[in-house]
């Protein structure tokens, strides 16, 4: 502020005495420059006065336990509805295990014992895609990364020109910022989802629903990398 016609700071903080205040008002009535500045800053003082102090406070609201309980009940109901959708993936993962066992006993998709599961370059997807729980044309695959120990099971369901991507990812430490990427046969990378690994996610994995603008027959692989570029696991299709 390089004009000093009037004590705007005093005016805006309402700290002028009656005489000073009257003088300030008289000046503002005649000086467009000061008036514009005062009005512009007064918009902000009024906006500040309209903010309830509670909006700046941390903590739960008072007397709102019922609100929390109601909210938790709603998400439980919604997630039991969503379970029916997600169980497709669970069923597929189970089918992968069964198919792998039939195909020769390779330890694939065994989320509970990662250490003895070898990396799988070519999961037996053909045997699985006809499984009873899979949507028509769905392709699934599972892989365990030998270096990181991270595991992924994916189910790709075709849509015209794109795919729905369901993935279960486990074995990634808490706090990692992860990207689920679809790599097509020419090497082009498309993002299908991203997440932050929670404590529970680190212990027992994370399930993801995503999508990618890649036709199913063009998918080369699906992989999990961090924002920093570290690859945790990749599965070929």
């Amino acid at each position: 502020m390089n004009i000093n016609h009037v004590d705007l700071a005093g005016y805006l903080t309402k700290s002028l005495d009656a005489d000073e205040h009257r003088q300030a008002e008289e000046h503002l009535a005649t000086c467009a420059e000061c008036r514009a500045e005062a009005e512009s800053l007064q918009e902000w003082t009024m906006a500040l006065e309209a903010v309830p102090e509670a909006m700046l406070l941390d903590g739960p609201p008072d007397d709102a336990d019922l609100l929390l309980q109601r909210t938790l009940r709603q998400i439980r109901q919604e997630s039991s509805g969503a379970n029916r959708r997600r169980s497709t993936l669970v069923g597929i993962a189970a089918a992968v295990v069964v198919a792998a066992a039939v195909a020769g006993g390779a330890a694939v998709g065994r989320f509970t014992s990662p250490s003895d599961a070898p990396p799988v370059a070519q999961p037996p997807t053909a045997a699985v895609s006809s499984g009873p729980t899979a949507a028509p044309g769905t392709r699934t695959a599972t892989a365990v990364d030998a270096t990181t120990g991270a595991r992924i099971t994916v189910a790709l369901t075709p849509a015209p020109g794109w795919i729905r991507v369901k993935a279960a990812v486990a074995g990634i430490p808490q706090g990692e910022r992860c990207l689920l990427q679809v790599v097509d046969k020419s090497g082009k990378v498309t993002l299908a989802g991203s997440w932050l690994v929670s404590e529970a996610g680190a212990d027992d994995g994370t399930t993801l629903d995503g999508s990618a603008l890649v036709p199913l027959d063009q998918v080369g692989s699906v992989r999990v990398v961090t924002e920093g570029g570290k690859q945790y696991t990749s599965v070929s299709l």
């Binding site: 609100l67 909210t71 910022r177």
Partner: protein
């Protein structure tokens, strides 16, 4: 079956997310929703819906540019704005208290900026933020603010003046400036 265990753990983690959002931001969320709706019961419904949206899209909480609180408050504003629009769309047919509807909308527009202000305040220096909180949110006089902050009254005046200018620079109060992608 491993898959079911995975699912169960996911549900536990989901509940933990909602509980922690509620514990940390619930007061701010309900205060904002109450100010927008002027109705505690309606505000609680809005907060519930906002928490459910956060649960459905946890990735947007961590991937957004702004603060988690900013995201939650933006969602609350969007929910209330949608409700007002829906009510206005119905109003001509049902003709229920037509006078109340536009005044609700005006009111919402006036206070919608609270979310923008909270966001902008969080970007000020601590010195600037404190003096504005004392004067305009808590309604202290310059003398009271000076005592609370342990600085001379003259400093309260000049600091608050520069803080207001900084606030103005951070964000414009125009409606376009309040738009953020969250739904």
């Amino acid at each position: 079956m491993p898959g079911f265990r995975l699912q169960r753990r996911r549900e536990v983690a989901d509940e933990a997310l909602v509980r922690s959002l509620f514990a940390e931001h619930g007061r701010a969320m309900l205060a904002y929703a109450t100010q927008l709706t002027r109705d505690r019961a309606a505000a609680e419904d809005v907060v519930q819906e906002a928490l459910v949206r956060a649960w459905r899209h946890p990735e947007s909480l961590v991937n957004g540019k702004g603060s988690v609180r900013g995201w939650l408050l933006t969602v609350i504003r969007n929910i209330v704005t949608d409700q007002i629009r829906a009510r206005n769309a119905r109003a001509p047919e049902v003709r229920e208290s037509p006078v109340d509807v536009p005044s609700d909308e005006d009111h919402a527009e006036q206070v919608v900026n609270a979310m923008v202000v909270v966001d902008a305040l969080s970007q000020l220096s601590t010195e600037h933020r404190e003096v504005l909180e004392q004067l305009y949110l808590q309604g202290c006089t310059v003398t009271e603010a000076a005592k609370a902050l342990g600085i001379p009254p003259g400093t309260v005046k000049s600091r608050s003046f520069y803080a207001l200018r900084a606030l103005r620079e951070i964000k414009s109060l125009s409606p376009a400036g309040t738009e953020r992608s969250a739904s």
